[in-house]
């Protein structure tokens, strides 16, 4: 398992160039933002202002490192837990809230962006991603694709079909698996007998390896490496990031039904923020005072997004027709009118 910073906040190999103090502060700050955002989102759910939400807790290093590893022109194909990365891709917090708040505006992203929207059917994004990668390759662009997926998702045929194609077409793509040990209530050892997920790339004939997904430096560094390789014609890489889901699967789940509390307590020891904080403090780059300022700044930013989310107008009912086709077929024009009428009558 590749790693720079272990759970005690100690280096296990020389830091890479990217790990300047200012950049480490940035990564730390990103993780704090994500953690605070998630707490707020859970809160919105508990107070009836959002329906379901999949928290990032315990996986912040992965989501942030992955986001920072990508270039703007790369293409991200996320899974539903990847909003931390999407935020670094430029998607406003308000849009993330809109998405989980039941509004397609959230998938529009509100910015010019070729990233895929969140893809709910597990592992299906990996095939979309392979198609994107082919388009990039065909046009001889120096861009690459990051395709993200959970450990449970590696049991789906789409995972393998995508890996296999990426191998044989030598596609510019990096598969990043968030192995957070659980697929809802199903532990990783009940998903597969393969010792690692990384070794699944053997079936597709290309490189795969494990990284410490709680070490944000390792995450950024190794995904960057793999992206460079991909952009330069070196083909695909499978990266298994070892994390732990330090929360319920989503707000609709109750992990205490199936999770051993000891295992959870142990996993907390490896939590990603603490180790970087320890390291930064150790090196004199971080103080309680700074933490407080950072938290406050974030709280403000998040609060603004939440307000914007809560204040935003409800979508128009006709919206469900207006993006279905470029040109709405005439039968649907009639249905749209009828919806309008019903809506008026009922309003």
């Amino acid at each position: 398992m590749k790693q720079f910073l272990n759970s005690q906040g100690l280096l296990t190999q020389t830091l890479p160039e990217l790990a300047s103090p200012s950049h480490l502060l940035q990564l730390y700050s990103d993780m704090v933002t994500l953690q605070l955002f998630d707490k707020k989102a859970i809160n919105l759910q508990r107070t009836g202002n959002m329906s379901t939400f999949p928290p990032s807790h315990g996986q912040e290093a992965l989501f942030i490192g992955m986001g920072r590893a990508m270039q703007a022109t790369d293409v991200f194909c996320p899974y539903y837990r990847d909003h931390g990365t999407l935020m670094l891709r430029g998607v406003p917090m308000q849009k993330i809230l809109s998405y989980w708040g039941g509004n397609e505006e959230g998938s529009h992203f509100g910015i010019q962006n070729q990233d895929m929207p969140i893809t709910v059917p597990i592992a299906s994004q990996l095939l979309l991603a392979a198609g994107v990668a082919y388009a990039i390759k065909k046009r001889k662009q120096t861009r690459a694709v990051v395709a993200s997926c959970g450990d449970g998702g590696t049991s789906k045929g789409d995972f393998y079909e995508s890996l296999n194609l990426a191998g044989v077409w030598k596609l510019p793509i990096v598969f990043v698996i968030n192995n957070n040990q659980w697929a809802i209530s199903v532990p990783q050892h009940a998903q597969t007998a393969s010792t690692t997920i990384a070794q699944k790339s053997v079936a597709a004939g290309f490189e795969g390896f494990q990284i410490d997904g709680n070490d944000v430096i390792a995450v950024q560094y190794y995904i960057e490496q793999a992206l460079n390789k991909a952009r330069n014609g070196g083909g695909p890489t499978l990266i298994e990031a070892i994390t732990y889901r330090l929360s319920d699967h989503t707000t609709a789940d109750d992990a205490s039904r199936y999770q051993d509390p000891d295992q959870l307590a142990q996993a907390w020891q490896k939590e990603p923020l603490a180790r970087l904080r320890t390291y930064l403090k150790e090196k004199g780059h971080w103080s309680a005072e700074q933490e407080k300022i950072l938290t406050e700044k974030n709280q403000q930013r998040i609060q603004q997004a939440v307000q914007a989310y809560l204040n935003q107008a409800e979508p128009e009912p006709e919206d469900m027709f207006d993006y279905l086709y470029e040109t709405l077929p005439k039968e649907l024009v009639k249905q749209r009118q009828s919806l309008r009428k019903t809506y008026r009558v009922e309003a």
Binding site: S51, G101, G102, E104, P121, G152, A252, M320, L324
Partner: protein, 327 residues
């Protein structure tokens, strides 16, 4: 006896039949320790053990396919798809194998599988969690499609589905999972898989529906009866395939009017098949054009708009009134 919810009735039927029949196995995602994301399989893992209540790896094509293999060996698998929206990658196995094994082998091998899935909208779920595409299965020869709309019918129809020696798609309207309770005696009494249920008799209009829309339809029928003296006959189709057209035609011959209500998209929905049958077999009884009140031919919107997508009590009442005025 305690009244139970629809999802509890599903659990009760599974429990009853698993106790009675060793060959039943349950499989699906998160159905064991977790008892299913809707708790339909609650406590069954503890009661029947890991060999009969199987958490599978996360793969729907696999779930569908292995169930068929198990069934060919005489097991009776009841497979859960976590949501109907995730059933599509299992289509190949359902269409190409489950529905055909008996026919292809001239009865040498059979496929007594039940594929369960929570279906329909209205619970503010994320995208893909509110599908109602029962029409896709209704088009496939060799399948049965069953949709209960009350705890009692969930219990009786699920027992029948499990006992049936052919593959059954069993869709559970998740909006009704906990909406109301009924006393459901745990007697092991199954219901027939080939006839509709008349929930309310009436002479003026036949309202044909199934799934969660039975709820709105009953409210509308009551309102129409009480406030306007329009007496609706409400039919819960329940067994979507095979379709019991005889009962529907019989009712429409009496009332002369028919409204079909379903949540699924209109185009090529099951409502079309019913209306087509009426046009073929009850044309001369019709006093007004058959109406369909359905979901729009749009993608089920994210949840902010789902209430606008689904047929409402108002719309049923309004359409019924218009129909009574048609001359």
């Amino acid at each position: 006896m305690k009244a139970i919810t629809l999802v509890e009735a599903v659990n009760q039927a599974l429990d009853y039949e698993m106790s009675a029949d060793e060959s039943i196995v349950l499989l699906g995602e998160d159905i064991a320790k977790n008892g299913g994301v809707f708790r339909a399989t609650l406590d069954l893992f503890d009661k029947f053990g890991a060999e009969r209540v199987l958490d599978t790896p996360l793969a729907e094509s696999m779930i569908a396919g292995i169930a068929i293999g198990m069934a060919s060996q005489g097991l009776k698998p009841v497979a859960e798809f976590q949501f109907m929206g995730f059933i599509y990658s299992a289509f190949d196995h359902i269409i190409s194998h489950a529905s055909r094994l008996r026919n292809r082998t001239r009865g040498r091998l059979t496929c007594p599988v039940v594929y369960r899935a929570p279906y329909g909208g209205g619970i503010h779920a994320p995208e893909h969690h509110s599908e109602s595409t029962e029409a896709l299965f209704a088009h496939i020869p060799g399948l049965r499609v069953v949709i209960p709309s009350s705890p009692a019918r969930a219990y009786g129809l699920l027992l029948a589905a499990i006992r049936n020696p052919d593959p059954v798609i069993f869709l559970e309207p998740k909006r009704l999972y906990r909406l109301f309770k009924q006393v459901v005696p745990n007697t092991g009494q199954a219901l027939p898989l080939d006839c509709c249920f008349t929930l309310m008799p009436g002479d003026d209009i036949t309202l044909v529906t199934w799934g969660a829309m039975v709820y709105e339809t009953m409210l509308a029928a009551k309102q129409l009866g009480e406030t306007q003296g329009i007496h609706c006959e409400v039919i819960d189709v329940a067994t979507i395939k095979p379709l019991d057209m005889e009962m529907i035609i019989h009712s429409v011959q009496k009332t002369g009017r028919c409204i079909i209500i379903h949540e699924a998209a209109r185009n090529c929905g099951v409502g079309a098949e019913i209306a087509a049958n009426l046009a073929e077999h009850a044309l001369m009884s019709l006093l007004a054009p058959v109406q369909r009140i359905t979901g729009y031919d749009t993608i089920m919107p994210y949840y902010r708009l789902e209430k606008h997508y689904m047929p409402s009590v108002n719309k049923i009442v309004h359409t019924a009134q218009e129909m009574m005025e048609f001359v």
